[in-house]
């Protein structure tokens, strides 16, 4: 009586993914103010730099590419902590694990939503930050491209850390610790793409490497996350 016919298995996967994705978006948009938070964090740190170091144009110009990349990285990192935490606390993570749908796919919808909610807005905000830090005009395009691809990798890689630490009480900082070393290559190539461009060199090489990292993260991370979640729930 109860079992579903096998032929709608495909359509049920699509349904599951769209419902999951829609849920993430609803949760995010329910608190509209929160959507802006990573952005505001981004902006605030950009304000701290001149306050703490120096407001001079020549100094800031030199810092701009690397600094914006480092701050984007931190903003992504901070927003990652909540990725699975609330699902873990209220039991919906268990329900996801018990879904007949493949877990890596479900996880991917969450990561996608996270990227749309943090990476994209961060990227869109960079022109403003660039202006405030006197980024040379040639830097804007490579900065935005590298951030677009780079934040994708960072959401993917970071979600592994979020999954590994979801069972711990004070995830926040331990998460940073786990994830940061993995972010190093992304940061190096991202920042250097911008630096090269500012100095008038080609930066396609860096972008190519960033893309390659993104693709491998896209293929591997969902499985790692799924595995990590199964372990975290198993207590």
């Amino acid at each position: 009586m109860h079992s579903l016919p096998a032929n709608n298995q495909h359509s049920s996967l699509t349904t599951a993914l769209t419902t999951c994705f829609r849920r993430e978006m609803i949760v995010a948009f329910r608190h509209k103010g929160e959507l802006a938070n990573p952005l505001i964090f981004f902006l605030m740190v950009v304000v701290f730099i001149p306050l703490g170091i120096s407001p001079e144009k020549t100094v800031l110009m030199a810092l701009a590419p690397g600094m914006i990349w480092v701050i984007a990285l931190l903003a992504t990192l901070l927003s990652l902590d909540g990725l699975f935490r609330s699902d873990f606390d209220d039991g919906s993570l268990e329900q996801m694990l018990l879904s007949p749908q493949p877990l890596p796919w479900l996880v991917l919808t969450k990561i996608l939503a996270h990227w749309l909610m943090t990476g994209i807005p961060l990227m869109l905000l960079t022109p403003l930050l660039g202006t405030m830090l006197y980024l040379p005009a040639e830097g804007y395009l490579p900065l935005m491209i590298s951030l677009l691809i780079g934040t994708g990798s960072m959401s993917l890689i970071g979600s592994i850390g979020a999954a590994l630490t979801v069972g711990l009480r004070k995830g926040g900082l331990i998460l940073s610790l786990v994830v940061m070393p993995l972010y190093v290559p992304v940061l190096i190539f991202g920042a250097s793409a911008v630096n090269e461009a500012v100095q008038g060199f080609a930066y396609t090489g860096q972008i190519a490497i960033l893309s390659a990292m993104f693709v491998s993260a896209l293929v591997l991370a969902p499985f790692a996350v799924a595995g990590a979640l199964r372990i975290s729930v198993n207590t």
Binding site: H2, N8, T15, T19, Q101
Partner: protein, 213 residues
């Protein structure tokens, strides 16, 4: 349907309870009983594959669950201590997610499911504005549209008022009558006409099983 062979859960290297050997068939209602800390929650989670430090084996339709994971999960509905109801979503949004994630593709009659758990008119209220019992009822509403035959319910009566308990018991009985299976824990007395109790006994004591009615 579900067969436990010498099955027990292990914590800190020690089995929690005397290994269970039992068969749970379609149409059965099984209460897992035992005092606080006996291992009921741990057992239910192991059945669902959420806890895997166990001894013995569980067969699902004659096969170990590991081999028939997808098939098993298709047939399973688990409601734990935390029912998976997200506080910032409304009841409707929560139920839509449950349905979607469990692979239901058809349209969903949220109103009637909610009405059946006494939450008529609450479909569009965010769950953080609900009382403890109302919050749990949202989770219980799943029982009214999910087609899975195997229900694993960990203390489903928590925070539910008297009338709610009666309705839930009726629903459980109906499910069993239609050939479904229910495995549940509770510390309250059940007033079902047909059910079986499996008493978990500390590993050092003897094992016994009581059959009612």
């Amino acid at each position: 349907m579900l067969q436990l062979n010498g099955f027990t859960c292990v914590r800190d290297g020690e089995p929690l309870f005397v290994p269970l050997d039992t068969v749970i068939n379609a149409g059965d209602v099984v209460q897992i009983a035992g005092p606080n800390g006996a291992g009921k929650t741990t057992l239910l989670r192991s059945l669902c594959g959420l806890f895997d430090s166990c001894e013995g084996e569980i067969l699902w339709r004659g096969k170990p669950i590991v081999g028939a994971k997808h098939d098993f999960l298709m047939q399973l509905l688990y409601l734990g201590h935390h029912p998976g109801v997200k506080k910032s979503l409304t009841a409707r949004e929560n139920l839509a997610w449950f349905a979607g994630v469990n692979g239901e593709t058809g349209s969903l009659d949220v109103e009637s499911a909610l009405a059946k758990v006494g939450l008529a008119g609450y479909a569009d209220i965010p769950c953080h504005q609900m009382s403890a019992g109302q919050h749990r009822r949202v989770g219980l509403a799943r029982l009214h549209f999910d087609a899975s035959p195997l229900w694993v319910l960990d203390e489903p009566f928590t925070a539910i008022d008297k009338q709610g308990v009666e309705r839930l018991e009726a629903k459980i009985q109906e499910h069993a009558a239609m050939g479904g299976t229910v495995i549940l824990t509770t510390h309250q007395a059940l007033s079902l006409s047909h059910y079986r109790t499996i008493e978990l006994v500390k590993y050092t004591e003897a094992f016994h099983e009581v059959r009612h009615a």
